[in-house]
């Protein structure tokens, strides 16, 4: 069953879902590389948690107007609005003399708390078939529609195109904002575009990975990739590759084991890739470095012994 899913033999819908998850992982890994470079991991996490009240309110709104309440595009629109609000709140709070991590913590927990309250209210109201909304927390590809998978794949592709077009200026501004301005670029504008792309990944990942863990899919593959290269474009691509693999394999795995939420599986796979990189990457890996040190020590002991023998 798992092998079938992995090789896209488990039916058209399942194949679409795991391909969509793969593309989402690729976009997350690539965008995440730049999120890492700008050190925006925590802000992205706050943004992800801030989507929840938007999801709930959008559901209520759609249900109130007699809709199904579960239309993915509608839910994502709500999520986008409240995530943008959360981002604005972080920026406002940092402008008062609050440290950024405090502002992030406050916004993250407040929005998430509000979201949980709204979800609970929805469940008690028993309107608009709310089953599956909790899938937004940890991700669930079960019952995902073909349209949802296409939306995710399409959104991922658009985000990747935008990133490809802006990768060089983004890297320039992340490395040296002053020089970027000398080159006629606006680091502030580029920062905003990066946050927009991060928001896109967060939204596309809501259904598959869930809002609690999506930040891990952004950060972990890109962090693993950093062990393999000293060049920003390669780090982004390798991060994309790791993300794609985690997404695709994770979705297939969770499809073959009923009731297994998708997000944790995908994130654990990404973490495995990180662990492998941290241990075994050439030059930077812990084990590689330990081996290098040992052979260095041997060599110096060897020359020392040679020298003392020469003296005797």
């Amino acid at each position: 069953m798992f092998l079938n899913a992995l090789l896209l033999q488990a039916g058209y819908n399942a194949a679409l879902v795991s391909l969509g998850a793969g593309l989402l992982g690729f976009a997350a890994g690539c965008v995440g590389a730049f999120v890492n470079l700008r050190r925006r991991a925590l802000v992205s996490d706050a943004m992800a948690h801030a989507t929840l009240p938007g999801v709930g309110l959008a559901f209520l709104l759609m249900a109130a107007f007699g809709g199904e309440g579960r239309n993915l595009a509608g839910l994502l629109a709500g999520a986008a609005l409240s995530a943008a609000l959360g981002l604005l709140a972080v920026q406002r709070l940092t402008r008062t003399r609050l440290p950024e991590d405090t502002a992030i913590g406050a916004v993250l927990s407040t929005f998430y708390g509000a979201g949980i309250v709204i979800l609970t209210v929805i469940q008690n109201l028993d309107v608009g078939r709310p089953a599956g909304l909790e899938g937004f927390l940890l991700g669930s590809t079960a019952g995902m529609l073909r349209g949802d998978a296409l939306l995710i794949a399409g959104g991922g592709a658009v985000t990747l195109l935008l990133l490809a077009a802006l990768a060089r200026p983004l890297a320039l501004a992340a490395f040296d904002p002053g020089h970027a301005r000398m080159m006629g670029l606006s680091p502030r504008l580029l920062d905003m575009v990066l946050m927009l792309m991060t928001l896109a990944v967060v939204l596309l990942g809501l259904r598959v990975v869930g809002l609690i863990l999506i930040v891990a899919l952004l950060i972990t593959p890109a962090t693993a990739a950093r062990y393999w290269s000293d060049r920003a474009p390669r780090v982004a691509l390798i991060g994309g590759g790791i993300g794609a693999l985690s997404g695709h394999v994770g979705a297939a795995l969770s499809a073959s084991l009923p009731d297994l939420p998708t997000g944790p599986v995908i994130v654990l796979l990404a973490f495995a890739a990180f662990l492998f990189s941290a241990l075994f990457a050439p030059r930077r890996g812990l084990i590689t470095r330990a081996l290098n040190r040992r052979s260095l020590r041997r060599a110096s002991r060897g020359t020392a012994r040679g020298a003392s023998r020469g003296a005797a």
């Binding site: 802006l166 060089r168 040296d176 080159m183 060049r231």
Partner: protein, 261 residues
């Protein structure tokens, strides 16, 4: 005006009474807090010359350069370069800060950093091919850093990092170079290599403005000096302006050494 002869011109190009200006600052005031760091500075920098900006720590030299480039907000003041407003002149200006405020863990090799100087040519999508790489490598070799091209940028000594940023500025092919203490932390051999590079740029008609602390080397390295201590003290050729009285006035103390009276 007596020395404006073809002969004088060929030996010391910056020796005119009123040289053509490459950069003009008018009434520039910059303040970080309440007290201004530089106040009402009006200055003209000569075209095709090497000008040293001299003044004690905290005189506002770095502030002057940053404000000139629009990297700091000014309280008042106007900047013109090449007879154009700053925004239009910026593509022809290169700048090396005193301390690069960059992310040293960044995944970029030395060569990649120098290639960033070519952004105006390559743009966001232009291919970085053999020609660009060759140009960047050439700039690295002019500062004696070609052997380090593949190193990660953080894995260098302070002086080596400074040289890489100079190479990035060279790659820009600018007509005006603003250098904030280009020789700080640089070894003697590299210093003389860099001064050779700067003089060859000057001889091509480009202009160099450098903050400089080593008063002993001013006459050997520079054509003109600008003395600054929050306010402009004086500006002129080394022969007329780099004088004991003026320098002492700038530093607020008489300085030991061999500055001509």
């Amino acid at each position: 005006m007596t020395d404006v002869t073809p002969l004088a011109r060929s030996t010391t190009p910056a020796e005119f009474a009123a040289p053509e200006a490459v950069l003009t600052l008018t009434g520039m005031t910059v303040a970080y807090a309440a007290a201004p760091a530089i106040e009402d500075v009006t200055a003209r920098f000569a075209k095709g010359a090497m000008t040293a900006i001299i003044g004690p720590n905290g005189a506002g030299k770095s502030t002057l350069l940053k404000a000139t480039l629009g990297l700091l907000p000014t309280v008042s003041g106007k900047v013109e370069a090449f007879g154009l407003p700053l925004a239009r002149a910026l593509p022809r200006i290169a700048y090396v800060p005193q301390r690069a405020s960059v992310d040293w863990d960044f995944p970029a090799r030395v060569l990649d950093v120098v290639l960033m100087g070519l952004y105006r040519q390559t743009g966001a999508l232009g291919r970085i091919g053999k020609a660009e790489t060759a140009r960047a490598t050439e700039c690295l070799s002019r500062v004696g850093m070609e052997a380090f091209a593949d190193r990660q940028i953080g894995a260098l000594s302070g002086g080596q990092q400074q040289r890489v940023f100079l190479a990035r500025a060279l790659a820009q092919g600018a007509d005006l170079y603003l250098l904030d203490e280009p020789f700080a932390g640089v070894d003697a051999a590299t210093e003389s290599a860099i001064i050779t590079v700067l003089k060859s740029l000057r001889d091509e008609g480009r202009s160099i403005i450098a903050v400089h602390h080593d008063l002993a080397t001013v006459p050997a390295y520079f054509d003109r000096v600008l003395l600054l201590n929050r306010r402009l003290v004086a500006e002129g050729t080394v022969a007329t302006t780099f004088r004991q009285a003026l320098v002492a006035q700038t530093y607020g103390a008489a300085l030991p050494g061999t500055i001509p009276a």
